[in-house]
């Protein structure tokens, strides 16, 4: 029963913000149960603090959604400096491919026109 009375104090003592009052301290010195409980709280708090460094995986789509939501209405979509790197490469690649296809088409067209002129003359 005595342990139950001091239980609440142990929770506060565990994170180092409070000290046990003299009566509780006297009980604590001889009570293995309370000592074990305090040790468990300290272990628990260390484990909780260690979760701070753990990041959960969030997908890239989330960033895009956030940025989309932040963009003022009517703004032309821009390429992002960081996550947009792959998109930028794909975009440049697409332009290059289109330009190459266009140039090839022009050459074919020019060749056909030239051969028609030759046949006509």
């Amino acid at each position: 029963m005595t342990c139950e009375i001091f239980s609440l104090e142990l929770v506060e003592v565990a994170d180092g913000q409070e000290c046990l009052n003299p009566v509780a301290a006297q009980h604590f010195e001889t009570c293995l149960r309370c000592q074990a409980e305090l040790a468990q709280y300290k272990k628990l708090l260390r484990a909780l603090a260690s979760l701070r460094g753990q990041l959960l995986p969030a997908d890239q789509r989330l960033v895009e959604d956030i940025i989309e939501a932040l963009r003022p209405p009517g703004t032309v979509h821009r390429l992002h400096r960081m996550a947009g790197g792959n998109r930028k490469a794909a975009y440049i690649g697409g332009i290059a491919a289109a330009a190459t296809a266009g140039a090839a088409g022009a050459i074919v067209l020019a060749t056909r026109l030239a051969s028609r002129h030759r046949l006509a003359s």
Binding site: E37, K43, L44, I66, H80
Partner: protein, 190 residues
């Protein structure tokens, strides 16, 4: 990212540079998402909370004086958004906001011998955290993982400081009881 670069980006974003703010989002979203998930306990809800957090951060950036770190400032906003979100969600799912709800222990009792390792304990802890009612979980997450002050927690969750402390005690007690079953305590009793 170093703090100098962060400060530069904040200054640029305050001047209205959207790209600077976007870069800040890229740098911080994983941390913000992690906190949001720990508070609301659901992936989709966490995504909504994160979006709302950055909308509010973007709106209120000019008020950010740099007294606290950017991450701490974002944590406060996330906590506030999550609290609002849970409040709204609670209207549809009443039980999710009841911090007196009894949680059924569905996991087998843990053998203390196997809990010696902090890594092992951490895994069980994550599970136990998710089993806590959202109101209790929010306080223990913000205080014991993200190190927010009682005052700040109370402000963001819109509760009194003493209520925040009471919830923290309850949350810690429940977590301890879950991770260290009574049998072990009795074994240690004089």
């Amino acid at each position: 990212m170093d703090s100098k670069r962060t400060d530069e980006l904040i200054a640029e974003a305050k001047e209205g540079d959207h790209r600077a703010f976007e870069e800040l989002v890229h740098e911080t979203y994983a941390d913000t998402y992690t906190l949001a998930y720990r508070l609301v306990g659901d992936e989709e809800d966490a995504r909504d909370v994160v979006q709302e957090t950055y909308l509010r951060a973007h709106k209120g950036l000019k008020k950010f004086r740099g007294d606290a770190q950017l991450s701490t400032w974002l944590h406060r906003i996330t906590a506030n958004c999550a609290s609002t979100y849970l409040g709204r969600r609670g209207k549809h799912r009443h039980d999710s906001l009841d911090d007196e709800i009894e949680i059924a222990d569905e996991t087998p009792r843990l053998d203390p011998v196997h809990q010696a390792d902090i890594g092992d304990l951490r895994n069980h802890l994550v599970e136990a955290l998710m089993q806590l009612p959202p109101k209790l979980r929010a306080v223990v997450v913000l205080r014991d993982i993200y190190d927010l002050s009682h005052e700040s927690i109370a402000e963001q969750l819109d509760i009194s400081e003493s209520a925040a402390k009471v919830r923290l005690h309850r949350a810690r007690k429940r977590l301890r009881e879950r991770l260290y079953p009574l049998g072990e305590e009795r074994a240690h009793a004089v």
